[in-house]
Structure formats: structure tokens, C-alpha cells
């Protein structure tokens, strides 16, 4: 099992989840996060005075899937979340040791 963490633009959420649904995927958890990459935030202005927004709002999708599904899911996310501009986000994949379905106490990939 692998966990796919995708940090994407807020406005790309629907495109990504629609395509993932068409692809068929186990499920997703979404949270609103703040941070910055190489872009290092933006400058805004309030009544003539500039100020830095160091951390921008993004969405984080967490999907846990079986190993052979990971590449498809990552490709789908990239194809939908990409604009080609700085700030499109990143995807991280990491191993997951165990999963448990709370309702039935099923374990491993059956729990996904």
C-alpha cells in the first residue's frame, strides 16, 4: 500500500476528483493547507502599503491505494492539476504500513 499526497491548486479540485472517479479509486481525504515552494509567496497591498503573503493556500489530497494503482492515479492528478505556471503543486508517494476499516475491522488492502 502507498499513500499519495498531492498538493494542488484549489481551483483544480473538481477536475482532479472527476477524473479520479472516472478512473476508479479507493477514496480521498482533502484538507486546506498553507505553504510555499520555490515561489515563496506573493506580495499584496493594503492602502498603499505592500506586504508579503509568505504562505499560499493549497489543497492537499491524501489517497491510500494498492501499489499497482499508484502510477495511474499520479498521472491522472498531474494531467488534471497542471497549468504549466509556477505554483501547480507537488505529489509525494510514501509506503503505508497498515490500514484498518473501523466499521468491520478489516485489515490491509481490503480496508481501502
Amino acid at each position: 500500500m502507498k499513500k499519495i499526497e498531492a498538493i494542488i491548486r484549489e481551483e483544480k479540485l473538481e477536475d482532479v476528483t472527476d477524473s479520479l472517479t472516472a478512473l476508479g479509486y479507493p477514496g480521498v481525504t482533502i484538507s486546506r493547507v498553507k505553504g510555499h515552494g520555490k515561489q515563496k509567496g506573493v506580495t499584496e497591498q493594503f492602502r498603499g502599503r505592500k506586504y508579503r503573503i509568505d504562505f499560499l493556500t493549497k489543497l492537499k489530497l491524501e489517497i491510500v491505494a494498492e501499489e499497482e494503482r499508484v502510477e495511474d492515479i499520479v498521472e491522472t492528478i498531474v494531467s488534471q492539476a497542471k497549468t504549466g505556471e509556477v505554483g501547480d503543486g507537488k505529489i509525494f508517494v510514501s509506503p503505508v504500513e497498515e490500514a484498518t476499516r473501523i466499521r468491520t475491522f478489516e485489515r490491509g488492502s481490503k480496508a481501502l
Binding site: R32, Q45, F46, R47, G48, R49
Partner: protein, 464 residues
Amino acid sequence: MKSFQELIGRKSLRKKLTVLTVACLLTLLFSLGSVVWAKSGDPSGAATIAAEADLAIDYVWVLISGFLVMFMQAGFALVEAGFCRAKNVVNLISKNLIDFSLGALVFFAFGYALLVGPDSGGLIGLGQPFLVGSSYDVGEYLNFFWMMVFAATAATIVSGAVAERIKFKAYLIYTVFVTGLIYPLYGHWVWGGGWLANLPFGGGHLDFAGSGVVHAVGGFVGLAGAVVLGPRFGKFRKGKPQAIPGHSMTLAALGVFILWFGWFGFNPGSTFSAHELRIAVIAVNTTLAAAAGALSILLLAKWKTGSWDLGLGLNGVLGGLVAVTAPCAWVEGWAALLIGAIGGGIVYGGMSMLEDWGVDDPVGAVSVHGFNGLWGLVAVGLFADGTYGGVTGLFFGGGFGQLVSQLIGALTVFCWSFGTGYLMFKAIDILIDVRVSPQVEVEGLDLWEHGGEAYPEMVRKGGI
């Protein structure tokens, strides 16, 4: 037996003693006022209208204009709330509520009597407190209503300059002083037949609707407050001014439109008569100045910062309005436009200048009301064209007379309001510490001073 010290040390007893003292003072004032209980007024209005039926339209005009001026309180509340942070909104609205409510009562008690009462030595009016006796009269009540909504406007201007760090208790004390003393005395000098009105240059010091009396007084008492309080945490980092963005441009913009609308009562209503058809010119001049103020500062902001800065544009509207408040009745449309456009520039320059001096004025009240109040007074001496009331300025062959009177008034209003304001805020600071503790300031005045927030879900729970 407990000692007296122990007794008054008890909180509940001390509270009771305070209430008792205030009650005694009020009774004393009231009885002083009632000594001259001459029933010569016209409380029903029947005699007034019988003498001059035409007055009805003037009464309606003044009252409707006065209602509009009162509505400006809503505008001030929204501008200040919008330009400040969500954690202090309850505090800002509370200040706006209390400076009108308490201010109206103080002005009723004795402020009005000091402003319009029979002149004594050019310095002070000694009239009937509490509107009793001969003041129980429709004409007097009409005049009181008008003067009261103006006094409350001056009071509420200060709220923005001292925002996000003044103790609510200190603001209560301030309200009593400004509506009971600082505003009425200066108002008397200009509008109550005092020494400024009788200056021997030009037509004496002239301030049609109150660029000086209302706005400069509010602006410079506000400056005194901002100086005594010091800047908010985070306003200056290593000496460099920082932006502290307000929580709602929407509220700020709505507030400015309400103020603009209210100004149609403020300026045209100041003819105090619907028979002065000059009200049409005044209404147009008011609009032109506001529009020019907005445009000039927007272009300036675009040129200097690269952005069409809405916050500055809103301040520019108000700057133009304040600047045209004194000259609105005596100038032609193009002059009002010019006065407003310069007003927008003054707001821009004033705000950077104050920040360079290390003064933190969260909503720009000092630049909008203080600096533009002075500019409005000077503008009378320059642009008055002699078509109304015989007031003529420098550019229309009136010579330097009127300008000299205007400059003396401008200097006086600055010294008087900044001076008395500074002493008052210093005294409050010595008595009860004018500023909230660092913890209260950082966590927000709403929670600590008022027990709850304007947007509990947004602020406390962090949106999750």
C-alpha cells in the same frame, strides 16, 4: 470596626459611591440649569408657525438633513470595522455606539449650552443646560438636534485613529471630554459668535459645514490619541512601517458610500434653511469634490505602487468630502473639483508622512479629517468667488483678508484640538493606563473587553 480605607477598598461599595457621585453631580447641574426657569420658549411650535408659516419647510429640511448626518455613524462604524482586523470588530462597533449615545447625552447636558449660549468674552457660551426653561422651544430643539449630530460626528472620527489598542473605559472618558468641552468650545469660537467668527480680516473666520469645527477637531484629537497610545504591535518592524490589512474591504466600501450619502445632509443642510436655494450648488460641489478625491488618489496610487488601490480610493473620497465641507457654499463647481482632487493628494501624502514619523493611524483618520480639514479652511480663503454671502477669496479679488482669517482659524483648530487632546489622553493614561495590555492587544480586544467576538467561527476556530 473597619477603617474607612477598608470600606472604600471594597469593590461593590466603591461602585455604589461612584454611581452616587455621578448622580449628585447630575442633580447639581440640573438644578443649576433650572434656576433660570423662565418659560418663554415655544414648546408646541404653534406660536412659531403662526408667526411665520414658511418655517415649516425649513424645519423639515434641517431635520431630514440631520437624520442623514446621524446615519453617517453607520458609515464610520463600517469603515473602521472594515479597515481593522476581525478580532477587534466588536470593540470598534461598541466605540461607535457609545460615542454617539454617551456623546448625545453629554451634549444635551451641557455641551450644547457651551456652544450656542450667550457669548462670554468671545471664549465660551453660557447657555441653559439640559434644554430646560427658555430652551424648551421648538427652534432651540431643532438647533440642538443639528448641533448634536455634528458633535457626535467629531467624536466618532477619533475612534479610528486610536483603534485596536485603546481601553474601552478610556474611550468613555474621552467621549465625555470631547462632546462636553473640546468640541463645544471650539464650535463656539466659530459658530457661536466667539472670537474666531469676529476676526477683523475678511468676513471673520468662516467654516460653512465644519471642515475645521467637526473634522479637524476630530482628526487632531485623534492624532493626539494615536501619539499618546503609540503604534500597534507589528506596525513598525525595525523602524519600517508595515501593512496591517483590514478584515473587510466590502464593509469599508459600504461605509464610505454611506458617509458620502450622509454628507448630502451634512453640507447642504448647513444652510439651515430650505429657502437658500444655494443648496443645489452645495450638493453638486460636495459630489464633485468626493469624486475628484477618489480619482486623484487612485491615479496617484497606480503611479506610485502599480495598483488600483481600493483602500486608498475610499480614503480619497472622504478626503475630498472633508476638504469641500468648509468651502462648499462659497465656490463654483470647478473649484470644488480642484479642492477635492488636492484633498485626495493630501490623504496620500499625509498617510506616508505620519508613518515616517512613527505614528500609527489605523484607518487614516488624521490625514482624511485633520489635514484635509485644514486644507478646506484655507481653500475658502483662496476659492470663494463672492457669489454667495459676499465671501471672496484671494483668487477672486478678495485680497488676503479672508485668507488670513482662515489661516488663523486653521492654526487655532490644530493647536486647540491637538493640545487639549494630548493633555486629556495623557491624564487618562496616568489615571487608568490608556492602552490595553499586550496580551489583550494580541488576542483581540473583543474577547477581553467585550466578552465575545464579531465572527466567533472565523477567528477562534481558524476556519476548521
